[in-house]
Every structure is written in C-alpha cells, then in structure tokens.
C-alpha cells in the first residue's frame, strides 16, 4: 500500500521547527477537558440495536402473554393507544431460563449473553416518545424527537475529548453496506463544532475515508511532497504571524493525518489478535463474523483511548414487522456471541470496570401481532442492558405490565439513561452545556433526568 504521508518523516520535520515542538495540541481537543467528578467509565461502547428489539422475546419474560396467546388485546389497554390495525396477543415461542448466580431470566435465543448475566443490569422499563424510527432514533441518540441535535457520542467528545492524539474521540462502526435509517445523521455533531461528529471507521479497506491516496505513491514521493509543502508553508508563515495558531493547527492537522494513517490502521488490524480471542467473539463463523469484527475493533479502540464507540447492526435488522420469531432469532444469532464475547474479553483484560457497554435499540415491539406473525414498533415499554463502567451486574430493573405493553414499575425515560451514561463518564448532565442562540443547550434538554442510582455499583 502506498502512503500519502510518511508519519515519521513529517513528525521529524515538524520537530525540527521550534514553533512545532509543542504542537501536540489542537485539532482534536486532547487531554484538555476535565470531568465534573471522578468517572467510573473511561469509555462507552454502545451496541446499538437499530430497528427495535422485541423485549418479550429476549429479556422480559411474560407468562401471562403466552397464556393469552391469540386472545384480543384487553380493552383497557387499547383505550390508551389505538392499535386497531393489529391482531391479537402473541406470546413468545422462546423459553426463558434463569442465568448466572443472579438468576435473571434470559431467552434461549441469546445463550451467550445469558452467560454474562452476573455482569449485566437489564432495564425492563424503558419508554420513549415516538413510534417512528427517525424520531425515536433522534430521541435515543440526541435526547429529543427532533432532527439536527448532536448525538451523545458528540457530547462525550465535546466534554471529554479523546485520550489518544491519533484517533478521534467518537468512532462509529457500522455495516459499510447498509446505513441505518436517517443515515449519517445518527452520529452527527449537530450544532456542536464539526470535529465532534462521529468518525465512521470502515470494516474493510482503509478505515477512514481518504486515509490513503487513491493512486498509491511510493514513500520517496510522499516524502518529497511533504518536504515541498513544509517549506512552502514555512515561507508563507513567515509573513502571516497574525494567524499563527490557525496555520499551526493546519500544519498539525497534517501531522495528525499522518499519524492516523498508522494508528487507525493498526487499531483495526484484527490479525494481531490470537485465534482464541477471535473465536471468543465468533469471527470464525461467517454468521457472526461481521458483528464480531466490529465488537473486537471496539475493544481495540477503547483500549487505545477512544471515548465513545457506537456499533450499528446492518440496517434495521430488529425491525421484525413480519415473522418476528424467526427474524429475531436470526439477528440474535448474529449478534449474541460477539456482544457476549466483548463483555468477557473486556472483563478478562481488566477493561470492563472502566468501559460502559450499553445494549439497546430505539424502542421495543408490540405484544400483539402484526400481520399474523410480526410485531410492530412500540414506545411504551422495552428493554435494554448495561454492563461494566460502574454498573452493578446481576440485576433487572423496572418492569412492564403482565403483557409487556406499558413500562409500569420504575419507569426509565431516555433522558434518565443519558444522564446515567454521562454520570458514569464523570459528567453532570446539567453542566454539559453548549451555548446556542441565547440558550444553554444540553443533551437532556428540559427533562427532569434522574441518575439510575440503583443500577450503579
């Protein structure tokens, strides 16, 4: 592979320049930002389950629902929300069994996740505000059901920066082929400065767009080009001390680009992992391999100081409008082992304590059937789980009603989840502000967000 810039060459050139001696600075807000209190999590890996996983088939056993399978939805439920277009109640075909020492019940289609039960806190009482993918995505990622706001990863980058000079603070690992609904705006920086936008690192080829020249060049040519640019920029700078910081930052950005070429490539090089580790994630099985690769990449990235990694599934795979049972089982099979592998791998490396893993989608699914065997979007109650990074595992928090429809006990709104994630990162959600058009904006907006203290270790 050709190199556009030779990192070593450029770094040495810059080091020769007294003005650049301490140019470890800008470009990515490094180290300069402090948390509000002692963080429990240094990094977050969000396993985002786009489409809306069916809680009744995964984490929220509902014997009563199974008992009433095929019966109409009780009237007192339908009074609240019109679900006339749907069929009767639909139980789950999957068996639940207690897992780990805690005995929390997990569905049989996520056996690997179940083996992490003692590290996982399941939240069974989530609710959100919209039944559409877009609005629910905006809610889950940006805190309100409107477009254009910064994603939580961008807030983390804005508040804390990256711990690695050579890698972005906020990284997105998605299936290269299938974008989620609403595309790249899922990891937008909104009105925060653009450098906080999630950087999509690709699964194959060069990890960053334009990381290498489209026509490879030899190291010699790359070096000559860099030397030419450097001497021309130095000449230009002599006459432009007025904007020195800007010019310096731009020169430093080329240095960072060169380092990224080395470090991003290295960070995503899974060949450096042992067979055993690869197996733990399921890389050797073609079914699990794509998701497994992203999970393992995520571990390597947080190991290297990336603050917030978001992993997306392929498109909206959990959106099981038809054939819910088989579809849910299929996507579970593809993601269960990799997700569990990630938790186990983080744990045995001592990283789980400082890495928060969040698993969940934008909403849940209806306990009634759609078109006979599917389930529709559902905002009133759903499940997700958290592990590591200050979370006390082996518990289930909150509950839906006996049919899995409404979250009824210890209800958790999205703002509570956001406040808790920021809290674990050492941030007070009320103090992570960005002044915009006369108002201090924040992730949790005007919500009375509560830290989910019972979940904390």
């Amino acid at each position: 592979m050709g190199t556009g810039l030779t990192g070593v060459a450029l770094a040495s050139l810059l080091a020769d320049d007294p003005l650049c001696a301490d140019s470890s600075l800008p470009a990515n807000d490094v180290h300069g930002l402090k948390p509000h209190h002692k963080p429990q999590a240094r990094a977050v890996i969000q396993l985002f389950q786009h489409g809306g996983p069916s809680h009744m088939d995964l984490f929220d056993p509902k014997p009563e629902l199974n008992k009433r399978d095929g019966q109409p939805m009780p009237k007192y439920f339908t009074d609240l929300v019109a679900i006339s277009a749907h069929g009767g109640l639909m139980g789950t075909p999957f068996k639940f069994a207690p897992a780990g020492q805690c005995g929390i019940e997990y569905s049989e289609i996520i056996p690997h996740t179940a083996t992490c039960a003692d590290d996982i806190a399941v939240v069974r009482s989530m609710y959100t505000e919209h039944n559409n993918h877009e609005q629910a995505l905006w809610m889950m990622h940006t805190g309100l059901t409107v477009a254009g706001r910064p994603a939580i990863g961008a807030w983390a980058s804005y508040a804390l920066g990256s711990e690695n000079r050579d890698l972005p603070a906020y990284v997105v690992l998605r299936n290269d082929a299938a974008l989620p609904v609403d595309g790249i705006r899922n990891w937008s920086s909104g009105w925060l400065p653009p450098r906080h936008q999630g950087v999509h690192l690709r699964n194959a080829g060069t990890p960053v767009l334009y990381l290498a020249p489209s026509t490879p060049v030899t190291p010699d040519v790359a070096r000559l080009r860099t030397e030419l640019m450097t001497s021309l920029n130095n000449e230009h700078r002599a006459g432009h001390r007025l904007i020195d910081p800007q010019l310096e930052a731009r020169i430093a950005s080329y240095e960072l680009a060169a380092r990224m070429q080395v470090s991003a490539t290295e960070a995503l090089d899974l060949a450096q992992e042992t067979q055993e580790t690869q197996e733990l994630y399921g890389i050797n099985d073609p079914k699990t391999a794509p998701y497994a690769r992203r999970c393992l990449m995520a571990r390597r990235l947080v190991e290297r100081g990336v603050r917030y990694v978001q992993i997306f599934v392929e498109g909206q795979r959990w959106d099981t409008h038809s054939d819910n049972a088989n579809a849910t089982k299929a996507i579970s099979t593809e993601t269960d082992k990799p997700a569990a592998g990630l938790v186990k791998d983080l744990k045995r490396r001592g990283l789980l304590d400082s890495t928060l893993v969040v698993w969940g989608g934008e909403f849940g699914r209806t306990p009634v059937s759609q078109g006979g065997n599917g389930r529709d979007h559902h905002k009133q109650g759903f499940s997700l789980w958290l592990a590591g990074g200050g979370i006390r595992g082996g518990q289930a928090w909150g509950a839906t009603d006996e049919l899995g429809y409404h979250a009824v006990e210890n209800r958790v709104k999205v703002a509570d989840l956001h406040a808790t994630i920021l809290h674990l990162l050492g941030l007070d959600h009320r103090r992570v502000n960005y002044h915009l058009r006369g108002r201090d904006e924040r992730l949790t907006d005007v919500y009375d967000a509560k830290i989910l203290t019972p979940l904390l270790a």
Partner: protein
C-alpha cells in the same frame, strides 16, 4: 449572563406554584414530591398565611386575567384586585371573605365551570389555595390596594425594555475626527481609525496590488483572477485602477453566485425535505436559488428583496391577471424563502408535532434573519433573557397563519404554486382531460384486442382441463391471487399453467397481433406526449383570506391552547401603540404584506443593522456585532456602535443598494490594508480586535472546490437551472460527477441534507439543520486527508499539471505560470528554489541509477511526471487555502 428584571423571575416562580403552565416544564413526579412536602390544610402545624398579591394573583394572572383582567372583563368581572372581586360582575359579588362555599370565585372553579371547558381546570392544589385564602378572610398583603386603570398598559414589555440599544432605531452619528487624515478613504476609515488612535494604533500599510486583487476577487466573486485579468490589472497604472476592478467584479455574474450563496446560508436553503430516510428531494427549489442569485446580480434593493421573500404573493393579486408577468413569477418564487425549513410531512402523514416544527423552524429563520432576537425561546415560555413574551411569539406565528394553517395543512410536496393564471389552468386542464380520454380509449382498444385473442387461446386449451374442475378453475382464476382459498390455490397451481398463457404465447399463435398492439401503444405514447404540464413553483401563498386562528400554546404544546392572538410583531421592536394592520386581498390575508412593510420601515431597529453587519462580517471575517443573529441581551455588544449605525443609515439612504455598501467596504483603507503581522501593534491589540490589519481567512468549502476546478481549467461557468446531482460513491464519499455538468460552480450542486458533498462538508459548508447565520471554521485531520488523497484532488492536480506543462517548456516559466494561477503572484526566491529542489529530487528518485546517463528527453519526461505531485502539493499549501 443577567436575567432581565424581576418580571422573569416572578414568572418562573409562578410556574413552580401552578405546575408549569409557563416557565420550565416540571414533571408530574416532581410536582407530586412538592405536593407531598406541602402541609395538608388540616395538618397540626398551621399552614403559612396567604395573601392576595403573593399567593392568589400568580394563579389568577395565568389562568383568569386573560378574560377577567386588563384587556377584557367578561361578565363584567375584573379579578385583578381584591376590591374588584368583591364588587363582582353580572352575577354579583364573587367573594364572601371567610366563606369559601358562598364565594363564586371558589364555586366556579370547584364546579369546573371556570376556566371554560376547552381549558384545563385548576388543579387541586390551586383550588385548595383559593379556598384557604377565602376561608382566612381573603387578606391583602399591605394596607391598601392600588386603583385599577381602565386600560392598563401592556406590562409584558415596558418602555424601559425598549431602551436597549438594539431595540432603538439606528441614529446617524457624526463622523469622528482623526489625526491621520490621509488614511481615511471614506467614513468607515474615520470610525475605525478614531478607535485605533485612541488605543495608540494605526492601520497597517496598504497591501500590494496583487494581494489586494486576489483578496477582492475571491471576496466578491468566489473565484481567483485569471492570468489575463492579472496582467491587465498590473498594466493599469491609473489612480483608480482598484476602484474600477471592484466595479468590474461587482458587475460580473459571478458576484451574484458568490453573494447569493451567503444569503442561502442565512435562509437555510436546502433541496431536500430532511427527515426520514428518503430525505425527499425538492426538485423545484432551485428557482428560489436562481432568484437570489439574480437579485444580487441586479442589485435589487434590500427592502424590495425582503418584501418579495416575505410576501411576494401579496404585493399584487397574482391570481387575478390574465397573464403572469415575469415580475409576478419572480415574486412568487421569492416566497421560497419561507419554504426552506425541513418538512417531514407528506400526503397521508400530517402529524401535529411535525407541522408545528415546520412553523417553529420557519419562525426561527425569520427571526434570526430580520429580528436579531432569539424569539424561538418564547415558543414554550416567556423568554428568560429577552423582553419577548410568548404572546409575541404566537402573534408572529399568526402572521404566517394564512398560508401555514395547521388544520388545513399542505404537505411539503403539495404546497406548490401552479405557474398559470386561472384561465390558463382551466384551458390546460381541459386539454389534458381530452388527451387522457383519447389515451384511455386507445388503451381499451389495445386491451380488448389482446384479451380477445388470449380468450381464444384459452378456449382452445380448456379441453385439457378435466371437465369436473373446469368451472371451479374458471371461478378461481377470476379471484385475485391473494384472495383465493386453499382449495382454489391448489386448483390454480395444478391446472392453470396449461391454460393461462402469457402475452408472448398469444403473439406466437397470432402472427400479426404483436404489430397491431405495438402500433396502438405507439399511438398512446404519441398522444400522452401531448399532455401539457403546469409548471409548479415551490413557494408560499395564503390558502384564502381566512387565516387560521392562532393561539398561545402553553409550554409550546399544541394540545394546550391558551388565548387567541392577532397577528403582530415583537412588542419590544415597535412603539407601544403599534398594531399590525393587514389589508386583506381577494384570496389572501395580507398579513405577511403588513409584516414586510413593518420590517422595511426605514426606522426599523434591526432590519438594516442586521444586513450591513452581515455584509461586514463576510468582508472582514467578523461582525461589528459578533453574534450576527442575536442582538439581544444574550448577544454581544457592537465593537463600533457608531460605525454600525452609520452603515445602517447609509444603507437606507442609498436606497438599500447592497452594491453601494460593498463598494464602500472594499474600497476602504481598512479593507485595503495588509494582513501582515506587526509586533508593535500586536503588543497593544494581540487579537486584532480593532482591525489594525486585514484578517486573513481560509476558503469556505464552496470557494475551495471552485478554486481547484478553476486552477485545473475544468470549471464550467454555466449559470442557473436545476441542481447538479450529487451521489454517494461506493467509498462512502458524496461527489458530483467529473463531467461538464458535475464541474459547475458549487452553488449549483444539489443541497441534499442527508448527502453533504464530502469535500465541502469537511471544510465547514453547513448541514442546514435549520439555517446557518455564521459558519464555523474547524481545522481537522480529515481536511488534510481529503486534500491529499481524494480522487477529486488527485484528478484536478493532474489536470492542473497538464495545464502547467502545456503553458511553457521551461521550468522557470512553468513555476511562474503555476504561481500566478494559484496564488496571483510571482514566487519568492525561496519558493522557486523549493519547487526546483522538488523537481530535481523527483527526477533523481525516478531515474535512480540511470540519472547520470539519462538522455535529456528522458529527464524531461521524469520532470513532467513530477508535476502532478507538485500540483497536488501546491493545492495543499496554506498559501492556496488562505486569502491574505
């Protein structure tokens, strides 16, 4: 940051008492906690004593005063004082102190007769509070009460609030005296210099002729000067050579493209609806873009520009005339200004939250463009920082209610204006109906022909089917596939393949049939082509002269309507007795026209100031008021208030001609000074706040792309028309095609919210979530990667290298050519040397061991091969990316 007065704190406090009807929303849980903390009335410890002013008024003011207060006194009842409650209204006294059960004030709210049914009843705590106050003898706070004034002034905004500088009309200041008179080219310099001199500063010397040429060319047209222009300018030694260059640039069509693009930022121009995965395209949006470009090219007076964009459809009765003049069409297109907001609605999906979001975004665009106060904060509660009430917000919303009617909502794609008069439309519709009839007759004939022949084949084949099931099969075949029962499905599956045949089999059986059918289909196509489309404009017009009623929405919630409001303007920006007085048109409310007239009043406090300040910021890199869209208490104060007001009044005096303002600004000494560093001046003003040097600036994304294409000789200067498509490439980037159309100026590239052009996005071209009043300027590694490694840069570097090699055979001439093309100047000796070293080293690397023995032609070939790399490196230099 300071809160503006006790009033706002009081409002917040009421919110806490009454459960958040105004102010920060409070959750039910929180209220429940509060309630739990409040001692119950019967508790052993006696509750705190209540008084009218502190405890009762906050409830009544928010829930009752609207109908029983200063403006109206329904049933003759005024609840603003204890004595007026005692006096009562049509039903007699409303208060019997000590006897809550006999007091109408309590009875009406207990029975939930008041507030009226469409509003929420008072909650239990509020009722309890009233009851306790009456029971305790209905005390007042002090010894007496102030009398009631019959028409109490609107106390939401006081004249004191209006005193804030930004809410006062600009007043033309005296031009200050300065010492260094010979540096004063026009009054701008006098204002700046007086401040500079006060700090012991002075202007930098003038920049060189070519630095200035490059600066003003990019500034006014977004493009570098051509080699011919450079030579001509250098040769022109007349005293006013620069002024005439400025004139030429302002007259060039490229000026309109450059400055139109600035305006498109402010209005949030985009060519897709945003939202949803589809991010539906707005194929007709470009007409508004072209309108804006032409408006700048033709120097349309800014007041007229505003009137057309706010109320182009209400300037004359556009539905009336027999013919739509170009002027009329232009004015209708201009209303595209009010159609830039994201809009997720489509036929079949018109949900209230989305509808009100379109309204809110549109209001925010109008507010930040013309009003300079953050009105959007008042959507849900009284503004906490500015004297803007919720009523102000909804009065402004009412201005647009004739077109944006939440109850008769037109989705984004439906809200189009047919570009034809009523008569033309009727004629076209009649014509199209006739065409459609002929087409359907032909289609019927075609169907019949094919059907008859298929039947023939069917009957020939039917005997193959066992007689027993023949009738059942026929019946099953007549039922649509998805409605057949199991038995029918089985029957069809088993027997149909033999008898149901496709068209080709029919054609095979009847030799001439195919030709006949084809002839008919050709006739249909020919006939269909006669359909005359009616061009649809994307603009905004009132639905009729019955605008929707607009209500104050409590907490911004459309389910929680408060009082109705008339159209109006923010009270703080107008005199206390100002009322918007729309004159209805035949099918239009006239409200936007009235609003536009108010905005373009020469004495308007913000209209001219905002625009001259934007022009200033685009020329000088920073506004005189740095917060370009916020002049309120939360914004910044002007660095040069007198200069701002002089410019604003001059703008009005010049008939709102923007080119006059450009001319003033770019011919000033302030603009013409060098951008070079000066240690002595920097020691006094290190940040160059007082403008002792010109501020160098990095190219915007569009300018960078255009400059690269221009240098490569590939820029297509074709103007106007539908957007140049952009597409996501397999590598994930978004680009236009590398062909003539794809290489047009950036202002013509499709603005798809979900598909920002990668190169421009990485150089801070805004994403248009709402609008962009000021661009950010980030420096990130992805810029370096894009400039070094993207196919776009590589391709154009190669093209540039080709031009350079074509230009001259010799190295020195080539270097000179490159420098003039890219940097509008000759290279310095160091630069010349650096490039020569690069070429030599490249040749050495290329030829390796053969270097010493290589023939001259071989060496030349190696040097030519170095130029694409040199060109790419030059594109990556700061000298290319920055304007000095």
């Amino acid at each position: 940051m300071t809160c503006c007065g006790d009033r706002y704190r009081r409002i917040l406090w009421w919110a806490a008492i009454i459960g958040g009807s105004v102010g920060t929303p409070l959750s039910k849980e929180l209220l429940a906690q509060d309630a739990a903390k409040t001692p119950a009335p019967a508790a052993v410890s006696s509750p705190p004593a209540l008084n009218f002013e502190d405890d009762v008024v906050p409830v009544l003011e928010v829930r009752c005063f609207q109908c029983h207060g200063a403006e109206t006194r329904k049933a003759g009842l005024d609840l603003r004082r204890r004595f007026s409650i005692l006096k009562g209204g049509d039903s007699g006294t409303a208060l019997v102190p000590g006897k809550p059960d006999e007091s109408l004030l309590v009875e009406m709210v207990v029975k939930k007769e008041m507030p009226p049914k469409e509003e929420d009843p008072l909650d239990a705590r509020q009722i309890d509070l009233l009851r306790r106050w009456v029971a305790s003898g209905a005390p007042i706070k002090g010894k007496g009460e102030s009398p009631l004034e019959t028409a109490e002034a609107d106390n939401l905004v006081s004249d004191k609030d209006r005193q804030f500088w930004a809410f006062q009309p600009p007043i033309r200041p005296q031009i200050p005296a300065v010492k260094d008179l010979h540096r004063v080219r026009n009054p701008i310099d006098a204002f700046l210099l007086s401040k500079l001199e006060a700090s012991g500063l002075s202007f930098n010397p003038d920049a060189s002729k070519l630095v200035l040429m490059r600066r003003v060319s990019f500034d006014l047209t977004g493009l570098p000067p051509t080699l011919e222009e450079i030579d001509a300018f250098l040769a022109d030694e007349s005293a006013d050579a620069y002024e005439r260059l400025v004139g030429r640039l302002l007259d060039s069509p490229q000026y309109g493209e450059r400055w139109g693009r600035h305006w498109l930022d402010v209005v949030g121009y985009a060519e897709s609806d945003g939202y949803l995965d589809a991010d539906r395209e707005r194929p007709e949006a470009w007409r508004y873009r072209d309108y804006v470009i032409r408006a700048f090219q033709n120097d349309k007076p800014y007041d007229q520009f505003i009137r057309e964009q706010i109320a182009g459809d209400e300037l004359q009765d556009w539905r009336g005339p027999k013919e739509l003049s170009n002027e009329l069409v232009d004015q209708l297109v201009a209303t595209g200004f009010l159609r830039t907001a994201s809009d997720p609605t489509y036929p079949g999906y018109k949900e209230k939250p989305e509808i009100y979001k379109v309204l809110a975004d549109t209001m925010q665009i109008v507010g930040s463009t013309f009003l300079g106060v953050t009105i959007q904060c008042a959507r849900c509660h009284e503004h906490k920082l500015e004297p803007i009430s919720q009523r102000d917000y909804y009065q402004l919303q009412a201005v647009f209610a004739g077109a944006y009617d939440p109850n008769r909502w037109l989705a984004s794609g439906e809200r189009m204006i047919p570009l034809a008069t009523d008569a033309e439309q009727a004629a076209i519709n009649a014509h199209n109906k006739a065409v459609a009839e002929r087409v359907s007759a032909l289609q019927a004939e075609s169907n019949r022909l094919l059907g008859d022949h298929r039947d023939k084949v069917f009957h020939e084949k039917v005997p193959q089917v066992p007689a027993a099931v023949r009738e059942m099969l026929k019946a099953a075949l007549l039922i649509p596939a998805e409605k057949r029962n199991e038995e029918q499905k089985k029957l069809v599956a088993e027997h149909a393949p033999g008898v149901v045949i496709d068209d080709n089999a029919v054609f095979a059986r009847f030799a001439d049939l195919k030709k006949e059918i084809e002839k008919l289909q050709a006739a249909i196509a020919a006939e269909s082509a006669l359909t005359r489309p009616i061009t649809q404009l994307r603009g905004l017009v009132d639905l009729d002269d019955k605008p929707a009623e607009t209500f104050v929405l409590r907490r911004g919630d459309f389910n929680n309507k408060g009082r109705g409001v008339a159209p109006g303007v923010p009270a703080v920006l107008a005199a206390s007795d100002f009322r918007l007085q729309p004159a209805p048109l035949p099918r239009s409310s006239g409200r936007r026209r009235a609003f536009a007239d108010w905005l373009t009043d020469p004495k308007h406090p913000t209209t001219a100031r905002l625009q001259v300040n934007r022009l200033w910021a685009w020329h000088f890199g920073k506004g005189i008021v740095e917060t370009l869209d916020d002049y309120g208490h939360a914004g910044k104060l002007p660095m040069h208030p007198e200069l701002l007001d002089w410019l604003a009044t001059e703008f009005v005096a010049q008939g709102y001609r923007q080119k006059a303002m450009h001319r003033l600004m770019v011919t000033s000494t302030a603009y013409r000074q060098a951008s070079t560093f000066d240690p002595a001046r920097a020691a006094i003003d290190g940040e160059n706040l007082w403008l002792w040097a010109f501020r160098p600036a990095r190219h915007e994304g569009e300018v960078l792309r255009d400059a690269v294409l221009a240098a490569a000789g590939k820029l297509n200067r074709q103007m106007f028309g539908p957007a140049v498509p952009v597409a996501r490439q397999p590598d994930g980037s978004v680009t236009s095609a590398d062909d003539a159309n794809g290489n047009r100026r950036s202002v013509y590239l499709q603005v798809r919210r979900s598909q920002p052009v990668t190169l421009m996005e990485s150089f801070d071209t805004p994403k248009m979530e709402i609008n962009c009043t000021r661009r950010t300027e980030a420096i990130v590694a992805t810029q370096a990667l894009t400039l070094l490694n993207s196919p776009f840069m590589e391709t154009n570097a190669r093209a540039l290298a080709g031009r350079i090699i074509q230009a001259a055979p010799g190295r020195a001439e080539r270097i000179l050519f490159a420098w003039k093309l890219l940097f509008t100047r000759e290279p310095t000796e160091t630069e010349r040397q650096a490039l020569s070293t690069f070429l030599d080293s490249f040749v050495a690397v290329q030829l390796g061991d053969k270097l010493a023995t290589a023939a001259p032609a071989e060496r030349q070939a190696a040097e030519d091969a170095a130029w694409p790399h040199a060109a790419l490196s030059l594109f990556n230099t700061n000298a290319f990316l920055f304007v000095d």
